[in-house]
């Protein structure tokens, strides 16, 4: 394995861990499509941040786009609650609008924004090793993206481990959570903020769709394999890492997009779990047609 391959797989793995951790909470809250919406909606934020900061100034971009992601969830809620648009339609209207805005901005400012439309969809993870972070003294610290993703991962790990019980409870039983004094709205928006932040950080390298694949696929796979949320978090991270490594080699073999290949592997992983999972797979469900009645 050469060094470039290492960096690419590492980037993929970092994105996979970030996305799949948050994805577990998303799918348990039945909000997978909100994650999808956010992943599209951060685009205009990224473009605008590019325009205003004039460079790839990391933090402006992260914050700007993350704000837009949260704004997107606000908009969805607003259309749904205040304007009485049905929930799924309001998701559909909001994210397509914001995404279209992003693409238009890119084409209008084509000269000034170093992003192209295709990259938005499936990123350019293959270029990750090219954008190195060099210190003043010329020390090579490795690809910049890896550092950014690493930073985001640390933030996420802190967020999830410190507030595990709040996230757990508000996902499982919001009414009870509210009754013991937790603000479900606060935790909802904090989670959405985390999703936006992750999306933005991952966007450049893997694009909008792969973010969704990683946010939904590995958690769904893990959900079929375990009944323990902690294990589910762990398993989905592992599934994500495997997918990013296998995806890299699949892409190499087919001479295609790494992001696309990772999604394809995620699909295969899910399929395997769907059929063969010892507890919730198709086969074991068939076998359990006569349920064990105990108590």
């Amino acid at each position: 394995m050469n060094i470039d391959a290492f960096w690419i797989i590492l980037t993929g793995a970092l994105v996979a861990i970030c996305c799949s951790l948050l994805g577990c909470f998303l799918i348990l809250r039945r909000m997978a499509m909100v994650g999808d919406a956010i992943s599209h909606a951060v685009l205009p934020g990224i473009v605008l941040a590019f325009l205003f900061s004039g460079s790839r100034e990391v933090w402006t971009m992260l914050i700007g786009a993350a704000l837009l992601g949260v704004a997107c969830t606000f908009l969805i809620e607003f259309f749904h609650k205040k304007a009485n648009v049905s929930a799924d339609a309001s998701i559909g209207v909001t994210f397509t609008w914001l995404f279209a805005l992003g693409i238009i901005l890119i084409s209008v400012f084509a000269g000034k924004v170093d992003l192209d439309q295709d990259c938005v969809l499936y990123g350019e993870i293959a270029y990750v090793p090219l954008d190195l972070w060099l210190t003043q003294s010329g020390l090579n610290l490795g690809p910049r993206t890896v550092w950014i993703l690493g930073g985001v991962l640390v933030v996420l790990l802190l967020f999830i481990s410190l507030f595990y019980k709040q996230l757990y409870l508000t996902s499982f039983d919001p009414a009870f959570a509210a009754a013991i004094g937790l603000s479900t709205t606060l935790w909802y928006y904090l989670l959405m903020g985390a999703v936006s932040l992750t999306t933005v950080a991952a966007f450049e390298s893997v694009g909008a769709i792969l973010v969704v694949a990683l946010m939904v696929g590995p958690p769904a796979t893990a959900y079929l394999l375990t009944d323990d949320l902690k294990k589910m978090l762990l398993l989905s991270a592992v599934a994500g890492i495997i997918a990013s490594a296998a995806g890299y080699y699949l892409a190499l073999w087919l001479n295609g997009s790494v992001a696309g290949a990772i999604s394809a592997v995620i699909g295969i992983e899910f399929l395997l779990a769907f059929v063969f999972s010892p507890s919730h797979g198709l086969l074991s469900r068939r076998r359990q047609l006569m349920p064990v009645a105990n108590g």
């Binding site: 348990l28 039945r30 410190l162 507030f163 595990y164 019980k165 757990y168 409870l169 996902s171 499982f172 039983d173 009414a175 009870f176 509210a178 009754a179 013991i180 004094g181 937790l182 959900y223 375990t226 009944d227 323990d228 949320l229 294990k231 589910m232 108590g295």
Partner: protein, 267 residues
């Protein structure tokens, strides 16, 4: 027949609650004594769950206020426990019975503190009380309806509150579980707790509760069970809705009228 008590555990003062801009409970004004087993009874859509949710602050009040132990909910949240309807959560959620029971201790833990050995012990004790200790590590989707309900109860027990509000704890449970639960609730009453239960079945209400609230969009009665479960009051509760009240609700909703001119003020 609306009987008030002095030094109530719970005071619901002139509360009006609406759902999607349509009042579903009108001017409910009641007080509950301490150390009682209270049933909330009424037909479908009478606002029984709404009343409990309003007490727990889960729905905004259009008028009036709620006081628990003479204080606002915020001040005494740790003394009140809420058991939502069983159908309100996704039982496929990756959690074990013990995990759910342990959630009862979360309110006492601080922002950052994680549940530890003490919380685990509390949760185990709570599971024991509902006879579910053998299922502690069982995934909740593998439990029967009655067992799930018991797990929900154990979560409330782990909270160690003084007032319990339970939304249909007997819905969809077998008779054995129902008997076990009511026995448990009686024990709780003996130790000085007050338990408020939304209940469907009139037949059993007579034996279960010592205080009964009859509800149908408005408060029909609140008092000792033998005084409230009279044919006359039941006829009032179940004999259809008050047409005028429904019509006014409908009007408020259709014409977009504010349910109340002014926001409720706490006294």
């Amino acid at each position: 027949m609306i009987q008030h008590v002095t030094e109530p555990v719970l005071e619901v003062h002139d509360v009006t609650v609406s759902y999607q801009r349509k009042p579903v409970l009108w001017d409910v004004d009641l007080t509950l004594p301490s150390q009682a087993l209270v049933g909330i009874i009424g037909p479908n859509g009478a606002g029984k769950s709404t009343l409990i949710k309003a007490i727990m602050g889960l729905l905004p009040l259009n008028s009036g206020y709620v006081e628990l132990f003479g204080k606002s909910l915020k001040e005494v949240r740790h003394r009140v426990s809420y058991v939502p309807q069983r159908e309100s959560v996704d039982w496929d959620f990756p959690a074990s019975a013990l995990d759910v029971a342990m959630m009862g201790t979360y309110g006492q833990l601080g922002l950052f503190k994680r549940p530890g050995a003490r919380e685990r012990k509390l949760a185990m004790e709570a599971l024991e009380k509902v006879g579910m200790q053998d299922y502690a590590n069982r995934q909740i989707s593998q439990l029967s309806g009655g067992q799930q309900q018991r797990v929900f109860l154990s979560r409330a027990l782990a909270q160690d509150a003084d007032l319990y509000l339970m939304d249909e704890p007997f819905a969809g449970v077998d008779i054995a579980t129902e008997t076990a639960i009511i026995e448990l609730l009686r024990q709780m009453r003996e130790t000085g707790k007050t338990v408020v239960v939304v209940h469907h079945d009139l037949q059993s209400a007579q034996d279960y509760f010592d205080w009964t609230i009859l509800l149908n969009m408005r408060l029909v009665a609140s008092g000792p069970t033998h005084e409230t479960l009279t044919p006359d009051l039941l006829e009032k509760t179940y004999g259809g809705r008050l047409t005028e009240l429904s019509k006014v609700s409908e009007l408020l909703h259709k014409k977009n009228f504010p349910i109340r001119e002014t926001k409720p003020v706490r006294k």
